[in-house]
């Protein structure tokens, strides 16, 4: 098997000359150079799926915005991370996340520690730009320690990836299509009935919103440990 050689590539982000390794993404190189690109589904250490589209950037010569978390760098490319069109698109993406489910911060366990909430502050989104769909999903509170509230899920799939890639259980996956898509355990069984879930709680700690949380807590009480997961991944790779 012929392995592609890792080469150093030079290109521009926001007219700043940067270099990176050919197996790196635009997002990784941008972060190495302290250039901020907003993300949502991305979590350092997990695989990138580009599902949320929050990290879209413009690449000269391309007609469509590209997610920076999945796009590999190329020699001579010219990347723009912020423009009126990109900002508007990010706001629309965020609006659609809010409108698709029921994100009521005031009564949410994650109020104050929610990435969706902080992202809307960061992007200055004051209200949803599209009408709310008011969908209603059943809450799964069958697990003795954790709750899954699909009404607050943004389908970032971090929980699926951490369970598969870090815990190695792959107890979670997606079911349904489009607006009805949701996170399920095993073959869409109650969480408590899942044979493959190890109850490790990693999915709960990486969830960006209040969709997955520890049981018996009330509003504003959630404690997320997103950093712990990233540290865990780093520690393992050093062994």
């Amino acid at each position: 098997m012929i392995r592609e050689k890792v080469r150093v590539k030079s290109f521009k982000i926001n007219d700043i000359c940067v270099t990176g390794q050919s197996n790196q993404t635009i997002l990784e190189v941008a972060r190495d150079n302290n250039i901020e690109i907003p993300t949502m589904c991305y979590l350092e250490g997990l695989s990138c799926v580009g599902s949320c589209r929050m990290c879209i950037v413009e690449i000269k010569g391309s007609h469509e915005p590209t997610p920076a978390c999945t796009a590999k760098i190329k020699e001579g490319m010219e990347v723009t991370t912020s423009s009126p069109q990109i900002e508007a698109a990010r706001k629309m993406i965020l609006s659609m996340m809010f409108s698709e489910r029921s994100h009521v911060c005031s009564t949410c366990v994650a109020n104050g520690d929610c990435e969706l909430q902080s992202k809307s502050v960061e992007l200055e989104l004051e209200h949803s730009e599209v009408p709310y769909l008011n969908q209603r999903f059943e809450i799964d509170a069958s697990h003795k320690n954790f709750v899954n509230d699909p009404n607050r899920c943004i389908l970032c799939t971090r929980c699926i990836r951490v369970c598969d890639e870090i815990e190695g259980a792959h107890a979670l996956d997606l079911a349904g299509r489009g607006l009805n898509m949701r996170i399920v355990h095993d073959m869409d069984e109650p969480w408590a009935a899942s044979q493959s879930c190890t109850s490790c709680g990693k999915c709960v700690y990486v969830c960006p919103t209040g969709a997955l949380y520890e049981k018996d807590i009330s509003e504003e009480e959630v404690i997320k440990k997103r950093g712990i997961i990233t540290e865990l991944i780093k520690n393992r790779s050093q062994r």
């Binding site: 366990v109 809450i139 009330s218």
Partner: protein
């Protein structure tokens, strides 16, 4: 002369949105009058499917004036579901927060909403009957009102995290213990607050003689009374059992466990209002009208249990001559006594050693699939009744809000006042103001009671005998 109907829509200086209709007969005399609560929110329905831990936060949103009452009733219902009793410090802190809310809410009603009527009279121009005019002519009184409210609100903020929709009252107790510095800060304000409360009561008593006609006709009639009370029938706002008293002062039924409220309270649905009409079940809808709130609490309580409030309670009880006080105008009087009681009680609870204990919360798992939380809100007895699955998902919710309990009495009161003051040939602003003021006596919170929202302004409609609106008087 054609039959007509007068409609006051919306009713002003109350919390919530309502209208009043006054029906006139063929001779132009008042035939009937009703209050219609015109707002709807649907809390009981949309809470279904949510998890029980969210209920205090969700139901607190029923109201911005008395969220503490909802949080307390809600957490008490969850305590029952979890089969736990909070530690004494947790209970005492909850009681202090509840009393602080009674102070701020009663102060709001007296100073901000009702006192313009007492200062300028019910016939004063409508542009004068508000707190802004009061700030010009009686600045110290307006300041006092604001300070007293702030006192209550700051206690809520200090001990429960936020002034509105506090998060510190949780199932099993409260989130944080009281710090010594917080205790001292609250205690240091008590002498000033007591002075304000006593001053307001004195002002009210010295002006009472001006309102004899209103006293006699503002929902002044026999009715039952309901309140929580403890074993010795002392004033109680947090714990205790339900008690029903008749208009002669006889106890119809006491020591009712709030968990069994459904055996004693029926809820009738009216055609023309979103607000249900609860009644005392054993006597049926026709005869089961009861009143709740400060008047009911003081009628039922033998004593307040605190010295200054007890002195005032004796004078209050003398108004009834040994029987319950039946005039709803005296709700104002009763609320002012309750402010004094609440300030004394806050001081007493803060000075109790067990209140400062660090152990303020216990936790547990679901043990019961149903729980009823009951407490005395500023406006009366409040019920939160939840049913859950074994996983804690809410399957049914029933809320009986303080104002709802008074619905039948408010309707009867509106009719009585309309009969006494409204003359179809000369519909004066003062007469219509009185019809609104009778509702204000009950200090209703309609947003809560229908679990609904609305804005406050005022319009009056006159309807003929065919219920056709023939005149609309804009009260804005």
């Amino acid at each position: 002369m054609e039959n007509r109907k007068i409609i006051i829509d919306p009713v002003t200086r109350i919390e919530g949105h309502a209208k009043i209709t006054i029906d006139l007969d063929e001779n132009g005399k008042v035939e009937d009058a009703k209050i219609h609560v015109t707002q709807y929110r649907g809390f009981e329905k949309f809470c279904e499917g949510r998890i029980y831990t969210e209920m205090p936060a969700i139901t607190a949103r029923t109201c911005g004036i008395c969220p503490v009452s909802h949080v307390i009733a809600s957490t008490k219902a969850i305590d029952k579901i979890l089969c736990i009793t909070p530690p004494q410090a947790g209970i005492n802190i909850r009681k202090i927060i509840n009393l602080a809310q009674i102070v701020q809410s009663h102060a709001l009603n007296f100073f901000h909403l009702s006192s313009p009527d007492f200062i300028y009279g019910f016939d004063a121009p409508k542009e004068d009957r508000n707190i802004f005019k009061m700030m010009q002519t009686h600045p110290q009184m307006a300041r006092d009102g604001i300070n007293l409210r702030a006192f209550g609100q700051k206690i809520i903020e200090e001990l429960a995290g936020k002034r509105i929709h506090p998060t510190g009252i949780v199932a099993g107790g409260v989130e944080h213990k009281i710090e010594q510095s917080q205790k001292e800060a609250i205690l240091s304000q008590i002498p000033d607050m007591m002075k304000i409360a006593q001053g307001a009561l004195e002002f009210f008593k010295t002006n009472l003689h001006k309102f004899q006609k209103e006293i006699d006709s503002f929902a002044s009639f026999p009715s039952l009374f309901m309140a929580l009370t403890n074993e010795n029938r002392t004033l109680e706002h947090y714990d205790g059992a339900l008690c029903f008293m008749d208009s002669e002062g006889n106890i119809l039924k006491d020591k009712i466990n709030p968990q069994d409220y459904r055996e004693f309270i029926g809820e009738a649905v009216e055609e023309d209002s979103y607000l249900k009409s609860p009644y005392y079940k054993p006597l049926g809808y026709e005869n089961g009208m009861y009143r709740v709130g400060a008047l009911a609490r003081l009628n039922i309580a033998k004593t307040c249990g605190t010295p200054l409030a007890d002195e005032e309670l004796k004078k209050f009880k003398a108004l009834g001559g040994g029987k319950p006080v039946l005039n709803s105008f005296y709700y104002h009087y009763a609320r002012l006594i309750e402010i004094i009681y609440a300030i004394e009680k806050i001081e007493e609870l803060l000075n109790a050693d067990e209140t400062m204990n660090e152990n303020v919360k216990v936790t547990s798992k679901i043990s019961n699939l149903r729980g009823v939380g009951c407490s005395e809100a500023p406006r009366g007895t409040l019920f939160h009744d939840y049913q859950v699955t074994k996983d804690g998902i809410i399957t049914a919710v029933n809320l009986i809000i303080a104002t709802g309990n008074n619905n039948l009495a408010m309707n009867a009161g509106v009719k009585q006042t309309a009969l006494a003051f409204v003359d179809s040939k000369n519909i004066t602003d003062g007469a219509l103001n009185r019809v609104e003021a009778v509702i204000r006596c009950f200090d209703p919170c309609l947003s809560c009671s229908t679990h609904a929202l609305g804005i406050v302004s005022s319009k009056i409609e006159v309807r003929d005998h065919n219920k056709k609106v023939i005149q609309v008087i804009d009260r804005n």
